[in-house]
Each structure stands twice: as structure tokens, then as C-alpha cells.
């Protein structure tokens, strides 16, 4: 059966090998052909714009206008329109920033870490997840950029010579954030674009055949003349693997640096060494929650059950379960070390989180982040798509509250009881944050309308007929 290079003698043990039968989950169901995959995915772009798309798009635009309104008012008036006041000088702006950045991380995780781990099931969700990353970074960037107040000075964040001759303070974690987030945004776009190259070439040729000159030209322009050459694929695949390889430490570093914003300070509840991996696990957790929130409706609307199978949903649920449990480990370890460290301020902060004025937020966080994912142990629950979708929303909510709890509770009650306070958001903050869901949806809707929502080339490569040996007898 196996054709072996002749020089290597075959050990006797190989003749005894008789594996128990446990078939791998099929990633593309119903034995679909290459052409079916192309037609299915390109069909979404080539077909008439469906009515629901227009409805969603208009709603999304309306929602996005809230952000526009909130920001316009902020620029016209000043940052005082947000609800920040002593002692809570940092609240929804940074909560929302961390929330959106965290959501972006699952996209990179799916495209990079799962690529390195050879988890082939990632192929049908990675394109949409990467798009989600980019759009989430866009939403995240709104908050730090506008919270500088005079946004036309935002370029002061970058080391560009200015008339004061003073340079940026590289000792500040906020400056590290500038580099981390802008690198993250740039590399995510590049990674996404490289993945799109072959699919753009497919679209170019299809639109040319259909006689649509304009769209053929535009897709062709960005396809850079890709022609499917295997000499190109060879370099392309290596480059893709390296991008995956560097995106992995990148995604870790971005949320690590976000966690440094808090952890390098001395505020009780912020200064703890587990913050970096804990933030990363939380980011992946929230990101997977968002991927499921987005992909499950898409799967239903576009009838993609053959491409996003129950196996994919199982995998995503299990990762949510695993990262949710890791987050639980970090909560427990923080609590334990707050006690073990025997620092009264640290100890108070944690008691205050659980039983103080913000206890409601704390218990929402625990319920959503630690308890919700435990439902995913059950196969029956994972098979119930509607329920999975609802649980994924709980995950999103829980992770927003995690950031709220960390940031607001620590600031509202720190060292001096005389300067304690209670923070509530202003209507402008609520508007701005609410609107970002619209901004995100507008971008995402444009994406599913104009770009292939799944990587066709990669999907074809994981089908059984792509295997040049027609089975697993290659050596």
C-alpha cells in the first residue's frame, strides 16, 4: 500500500498496524466539487442584492449615526461631555476600546494560531473572522483617538517631529498601545489581503466572463495578476505561514500591551502579573463569542451548512469553553493571590468587586464568562444552533462587563475613602458606544456583499479530492 523510498527498511511493527476506525469529521460535506465551492461563494457576490441586506444596511447606518452624533458633539464641546470625573477618570472609553480590540483577536487567532496548529476546520470561518478583526480594530480605535479631546492633534501620538521638539514618552504604556494597535491593524489588513489574492483572481475571471468590465478591472487590479502558478503558490504558502507565525505573537502582544495599560500602574486590582495571559485568554474568548454571533446567522441565511458544519460549531464551542475556563482560572488566581499577598488594599479591592456597589456588574461577569461556557460541555446544547447563538451573546456581554469591572471598580474605590466615588456613563458615551455596533455592522455588511466570505482556495485544499494520493498512503 505504501510506496516507500527504497533505502529505508520497513520495521516489522508496521505490518501489525491496524488502526481502530474513527473517521475524521468531514470539513466540506456532501462531497462537493471544486466548482460547487466557487459557484456557492462567488454566487453570494454575483447575485442580486437581497432585500434583507438593504434592510440591515439601513438599520446599521442608522445605528452608526449615533456614534457620529456622539463624536460630533464631543468634538464641538470637549471631553467633559463624557461621564468621567474624579476618581473615575477612565471608564467607558477604555472599556469599549479593550472590548473591541478583544473581539478582534479571535480573527487573528483563527487565521494564525489555528493555522500553525494545523486545525483545518478554520478554513471556512477564517476570512469572515479576519474581516471581523479589522472592523473591530476600526471601532476600537475610535475611543482612544477621540478621548484625546482635540482629535486634530492625534498625530502627536506618533514620533513625528513637532514644533515643541519634545518626543513621545516611550516609558508610557499608552505609547506602547499606539504602536501595538497600529501594527495590529496594519498586519491584520495585510494578512487578510494576502489571503484574498487568489480569490480576487477567481472573481476577476468570473466577472470578465460575465462581461462586467468594471468589476473585473477592480478585482483584477487588486489580484495583481495572480495566475495560480505553483511557483507562486510555493512562495505564497511560505509567506502565509510566516504571517501566521508572526501574527500569533502579535495577537498575544497586543492584548498583553493593553493589559500593561493597567498592570504597570499601582492601582489595586490592576497591578498583577497574570494580567497579560489573562487578558489574552479573555480576548480570545470574547472573539470566539463574536465569531459565533456573526457566523451562525450568516450560515442560516446563505445556507452554508455544507461549509460550516456541526463540527465547526463544536470546535468553536469547545474553544469558548476552554478559554472561558482559563479566564475562570485567572479570576480565581487573582482572588487567591489578593488574599495570599496579604496587601490590605489589594484584598479590599477584590472584596469590593464582589460585594461592593458594583457587585451587580461583577456577578454578571462571573455568570456570563465562567458559567455560560460550561453549557458547552453538553453535546446536545452544541447541536442546538439557536441556543449556541444566544449563549455567544452572553459571552459578549460578559466580556464587556469584565473590562468594566476591572477598570471602574478599581478606580472608584482605591486608597483613600475620602476620594471614593461612583461612576455612571453620560448619554453621549452611551450613544457613542451604541453606534459602534452600527459602524461594525455597516463594514461587515459591505464585506459580505463585495468580497468572498470564505477562502475558496483554502476550502478546496481541504476537500478529499484535493489529496493527490487519493487517501492517506503517502509517506
Amino acid at each position: 500500500m505504501a510506496h516507500v523510498e527504497s533505502s529505508v527498511p520497513v520495521p516489522a511493527i508496521l505490518q501489525e498496524v491496524k488502526p481502530a476506525v474513527l473517521p475524521r469529521a468531514i470539513l466540506v460535506e456532501n462531497n462537493r466539487s471544486f466548482a460547487w465551492i466557487t459557484d456557492k461563494i462567488c454566487g453570494i457576490i454575483e447575485g442580486k442584492t437581497p432585500a434583507w441586506w438593504w434592510i440591515c444596511f439601513i438599520i446599521a447606518c442608522c445605528v452608526a449615526s449615533f456614534t457620529v452624533a456622539g463624536i460630533t458633539y464631543l468634538i464641538a464641546t470637549g471631553v467633559g461631555v463624557w461621564g468621567h470625573a474624579n476618581p473615575v477618570n477612565w471608564a467607558w472609553d477604555i472599556v469599549n476600546f479593550v472590548f473591541w480590540i478583544g473581539i478582534g483577536h479571535a480573527g487573528t487567532l483563527i487565521s494564525a494560531i489555528l493555522c500553525l496548529l494545523r486545525q483545518k476546520w478554520r478554513t471556512s470561518i477564517n476570512r469572515a473572522a479576519e474581516a471581523m478583526t479589522i472592523f473591530a480594530v476600526v471601532c476600537a480605535a475610535i475611543f482612544p483617538v477621540f478621548h484625546v479631546g482635540r482629535v486634530w492633534y492625534a498625530w502627536y501620538l506618533f514620533p513625528i517631529p513637532n514644533s515643541n521638539w519634545i518626543w513621545q514618552n516611550f516609558r508610557s504604556p499608552l505609547e506602547w498601545d499606539v504602536f501595538a494597535v497600529s501594527t495590529y491593524g496594519t498586519v491584520s489588513v495585510l494578512f487578510w489581503y494576502v489571503g484574498l489574492l487568489p480569490d480576487l483572481a477567481t472573481l476577476r475571471d468570473r466577472f470578465e466572463a460575465a462581461g462586467n468590465k468594471l468589476r473585473s478591472f477592480l478585482y483584477g487590479l487588486f489580484a495583481m495578476g495572480w495566475r495560480g502558478s505553483n511557483r507562486h503558490w510555493s512562495n505564497y504558502e511560505m509567506a502565509y505561514l510566516i504571517l501566521a507565525g508572526i501574527s500569533t505573537p502579535l495577537v498575544l502582544s497586543v492584548h498583553t500591551i493593553v493589559s500593561f495599560d493597567f498592570a504597570v500602574s499601582l492601582i489595586p486590582g490592576w497591578h498583577t502579573t497574570i494580567f497579560p495571559p489573562y487578558f489574552v485568554a479573555g480576548a480570545i474568548f470574547s472573539g470566539f463569542g463574536m465569531v459565533m454571533t456573526l457566523m451562525l446567522p450568516l450560515r442560516a441565511v446563505y445556507k452554508l451548512e455544507d461549509l460550516i458544519t456541526q463540527y465547526h460549531i463544536d470546535c468553536m464551542c469547545k474553544i469558548t469553553l476552554a478559554t472561558g475556563t482559563m479566564v475562570g482560572y485567572a479570576y480565581a488566581m487573582e482572588f487567591f493571590i489578593a488574599w495570599y499577598g496579604a496587601n490590605p488594599y489589594e484584598g479590599f479591592t477584590f472584596i469590593n468587586r464582589a460585594f461592593g456597589p458594583y457587585a451587580w456588574a461583577y456577578w454578571i461577569m462571573i455568570t456570563c464568562n465562567v458559567i455560560t461556557p460550561q453549557f458547552f460541555w453538553s453535546k446536545r446544547i452544541r447541536a442546538n444552533t439557536a441556543l449556541v447563538w444566544i449563549l455567544s451573546i452572553f459571552v459578549n456581554v460578559g466580556m464587556w462587563f469584565e473590562r468594566f469591572v476591572i477598570i471602574v471598580t478599581s478606580l472608584a474605590r482605591d486608597f483613600l475613602p475620602s476620594s471614593w466615588g461612583y461612576y455612571s456613563p453620560s448619554i453621549v458615551e452611551i450613544f457613542t458606544f451604541f453606534g459602534t455596533f452600527g459602524v461594525f455592522s455597516v463594514l461587515f455588511l459591505l464585506f459580505i456583499r463585495f468580497l468572498p466570505i470564505m477562502p475558496m482556495a483554502e476550502l478546496k485544499a481541504v476537500t478529499p479530492q484535493a489529496d493527490v494520493h487519493g487517501g492517506h498512503d503517502q509517506r
Binding site: V10, A20, P249, Q474
Partner: protein, 424 residues
């Protein structure tokens, strides 16, 4: 499986050879243990020898825990390329009961005399510059956790959990060789789902109790993760050594191809980065915040009370370069990962640096009359090495004794063919 003409006859000498190897390993191990024991009784500082022994046993236990975790992760991922390696790790689990047994002397020593043989806080009268542990408010706050009974109970529970998980995985895997029943694979997945959180907690608290509590004023939430990173790295390096050894002996010829080495090399690279990430984050956050209640732990490892640099500062640099930069750049190369003699050297190097890392975390708890850490280069290194050889020899013996009891590869594993045909 194959119609190829060139087949190796089942090697009848291999079993006998591994039997002889096992007795030799046991002899070396016992010699190491005896030497450590002699050191313990003749040395004027039995505390130092006990801590050196703690380094040795933590090192071997870390590797065994790493193997356990890798097998659990293998099952939860339904991985394929590592099936062959998994069987070797399962043989490695045979060391758990012996590790537990070899840990006993430290526990027994703690129950006897003034209780401060290993962990100073066990002796409530331990002198701390004019005050005693018992009078120390920080100890009083933590005494519900840091006490003799809790440490003993926790250690016993940890070892029982590891022995139990190891035995369960071994049984399922070995029985599947005979009957080829798929239920064993499902059983292993259940064990993995259960075992990963269990092991995560047990290894974190083992690190806190055994190592971090030596300096019980100090605290860091990252500590368990740091220990986890070292566990996995140690196990991967041992995996490479086993793969190369069995390849040279002939058992793995025709079974392993360069892609297996490439894959394990990639994991070594990934966990080198992960270790660096964790260790850097811990150091960096403490450096940047600059709070005395945390920085003193690093100060002990950098400075004497008069401000001069001590030996541990250089050890820290060795760890920075040796534990991260050198393995990182070496493992970037594809050729290095698949060339047997080079990857072997990298694996040995990493194992040596893990040992130094453990020394760095444990031995500065030994102090002179000024409260400065005793130097790294001292007689203690001899006891560290004799402990490693002693405990390691016993572990190796347990592994070699287990090795011939099963097929060299899990022939009925559902993923075995995918493993044998592993390609990039």
C-alpha cells in the same frame, strides 16, 4: 501494511538491551541518591542540600507533568502526528509513583525537628532579623494556607492525581493495542477534558507551595503559568531525546520522518516564546511598578545588601540568553529542527537551562548572615546535580522498565496511519 521487501526482523536483542539499560539507570539513580544523602548528613548546611534536592525533584516532576499535559492536550485536540510520541510519554508516566516516593523525604524532614528543613516558614521561631515567622503579620495572614498539614496534604493529593491520570491514560492506550476498541479513545478524551483543569490547578499550587513559598512574602499571579511553561518545554525536549534515541536504536526507523521532528521543533519554538512571554511579563510588571514588596524577590537575585552585584545577576543573564535567545534563534532554522544531532543538542541545552531556571527560583532562598543570597557557584551545585542524576535515574529506570511491556507504537490507535504518513 507494506509489500516492501526490506523489513527489519523484530529485534530480539532490544528487550534485553533495554532491560540492561534499566538496571544501569537504576544503579546510577541510586548512586546519585546515595551521594545526595551522604551530602545531607556530612554537610554542615542540611537546609542547602534539601533545597538542592528540591531543585532536582522539581525538575524531574516538571518534566513528568509536562508529558502528562502534552498527552492530555494530544487527546483533546484529536491530534495525529504525535501518536507515536504519545506512547513514549505514556511510558514516562511510570515515573509518577516513584517521584511521589522520592518526594517523601522532604515531607518527612519537614515533620521532624524544627520543621524548617526545606520551607523556613514551617518553623514559627525562625529568626527573621529580630522577629520570628510566627510574629510576622504576613505569615499570620497566610497561615491558613501556609502550614505543614496543608502542604503535606496538597502534595500528596497532587501526586495522587498525577498517578491516577497517568495510570488511566496508560491503561486505555495499552488495552487498545490488544482489542482495538474505539471506546478507549473516547475514554481518553474524557480523561483529557477532566485532566487538563485538574493538572492546571495542581501544578500551579505545586509551584506556589514548593517554590514560591520559599520566599513567602513574595507573590505573583503569573507563577503557576511560569512553571507550566517549563514543564512543557522539559517534556518536549525529553520527547526529542527519546525520538532520536529510538531512531538510532532502530525502532523508529521507517516510522519517523523529518516532519515529525519539524513538528516537535515547532512546538519547542512556540513554548520557548511562551516561556519568554510569561517570564518577561512577570519581571517587567514588577520592574516597572517598582514596589518594594515585590521587587525584593528580584533584588535578592541581583544585588547584595551593599549594592554590589551578586552571582545570581549573571545567572539571570544566562537564563535570558540561554533560555530564550539561543534556543529561539536555533529553533527558527528548519534544518536545525530536522537534523538529529543538532536538535538533540538544542534539547539538552534547554533541559540544562530549565535546571538553572529552577535553581534561580529556589536556591537564592539560602541566605548568609546579611540576608544576601548565597552564591550560585558553590557546593550546592554538586547536590543539585547528584539529585538530578538520582531522581532522573530512577525515572529513567521506571521508563525503561515500562518500555518493553507494550508495542513500540500504538498499533490500533485510530490516528496511527495519519501519524505514520505525517506530512507538512
Amino acid at each position: 501494511m507494506s509489500t516492501s521487501t526490506a523489513t527489519l526482523a523484530a529485534n530480539p536483542g532490544a528487550t534485553a538491551a533495554s532491560g540492561a539499560g534499566a538496571s544501569r539507570a537504576l544503579m546510577i539513580g541510586v548512586a546519585g541518591l546515595v551521594l545526595t544523602a551522604v551530602g545531607f548528613f556530612i554537610s554542615h548546611d542540611s537546609h542547602a542540600v534539601a533545597l538542592s534536592y528540591l531543585v532536582g525533584i522539581s525538575f524531574c516532576t516538571a518534566i513528568a507533568i509536562g508529558m502528562l499535559l502534552l498527552v492530555l492536550i494530544h487527546h483533546i485536540f484529536d491530534a495525529s502526528w504525535s501518536v507515536v510520541l504519545r506512547r513514549q510519554f505514556e511510558h514516562g508516566f511510570a515515573a509518577f509513583p516513584w517521584l511521589g516516593l522520592l518526594f517523601l523525604p522532604l515531607l518527612i524532614g519537614s515533620w521532624m525537628g524544627t520543621h524548617d528543613l526545606v520551607w523556613p516558614w514551617m518553623n514559627l521561631n525562625y529568626d527573621m532579623h529580630g522577629t520570628t515567622v510566627g510574629e510576622d503579620i504576613l505569615y499570620q495572614k497566610k497561615s491558613g494556607f501556609l502550614n505543614l498539614g496543608m502542604l503535606t496534604g496538597a502534595t500528596v493529593a497532587f501526586f495522587l492525581s498525577w498517578v491516577w491520570l497517568g495510570a488511566r491514560l496508560r491503561k486505555a492506550s495499552f488495552t487498545q493495542d490488544q482489542d482495538g476498541d474505539i471506546k478507549w479513545t473516547s475514554m481518553n478524551r474524557v480523561t483529557a477534558a477532566l485532566g487538563i483543569p485538574m493538572t492546571a490547578i495542581s501544578l500551579s499550587f505545586a509551584a506556589i507551595y514548593w517554590i514560591k513559598s520559599l520566599e513567602y512574602h513574595w507573590f505573583s499571579t503569573m507563577y503557576g503559568v511560569w512553571f507550566f511553561a517549563n514543564c512543557i518545554r522539559g517534556a518536549l525536549c525529553c520527547g526529542v531525546l527519546i525520538m532520536v534515541w529510538l531512531y538510532r536504536r532502530g525502532d523508529f526507523k521507517g516510522i519517523l520522518n523529518p516532519n515529525h521532528f519539524h513538528s516537535i521543533g515547532q512546538l519547542m519554538l512556540a513554548f520557548t516564546v511562551f516561556w519568554a512571554y510569561v517570564t518577561f511579563s512577570q519581571y517587567f510588571l514588577i520592574w516597572n511598578a517598582n514596589v518594594p514588596e515585590e521587587t525584593f524577590w528580584y533584588n535578592l537575585r541581583e544585588l547584595n545588601h551593599d549594592g554590589s552585584t551578586n552571582q545570581w545577576w549573571y545567572v539571570g543573564l544566562v537564563i535570558l540568553f540561554g533560555h530564550f535567545f539561543i534556543p529561539f534563534f536555533a529553533l527558527l532554522s528548519y534544518r536545525f529542527k530536522i537534523t538529529h544531532h543538532i536538535i538533540t543538542k538544542i534539547a539538552c541545552w534547554i533541559l540544562a537551562v530549565i535546571l538553572i531556571d529552577l535553581c534561580y527560583n529556589i536556591l537564592p532562598a539560602l541566605k548568609d548572615e546579611h540576608g544576601d543570597s548565597l552564591p550560585f557557584l558553590s557546593m550546592n551545585l554538586v547536590w543539585v546535580l547528584s539529585s538530578v542524576v538520582g531522581v532522573g535515574g530512577v525515572c529513567l529506570w521506571a521508563y525503561l522498565r515500562s518500555l518493553p511491556t507494550t508495542k513500540i507504537i500504538p498499533i490500533r490507535d485510530p490516528r496511527i496511519v495519519e501519524c505514520l504518513t505525517h506530512h507538512e
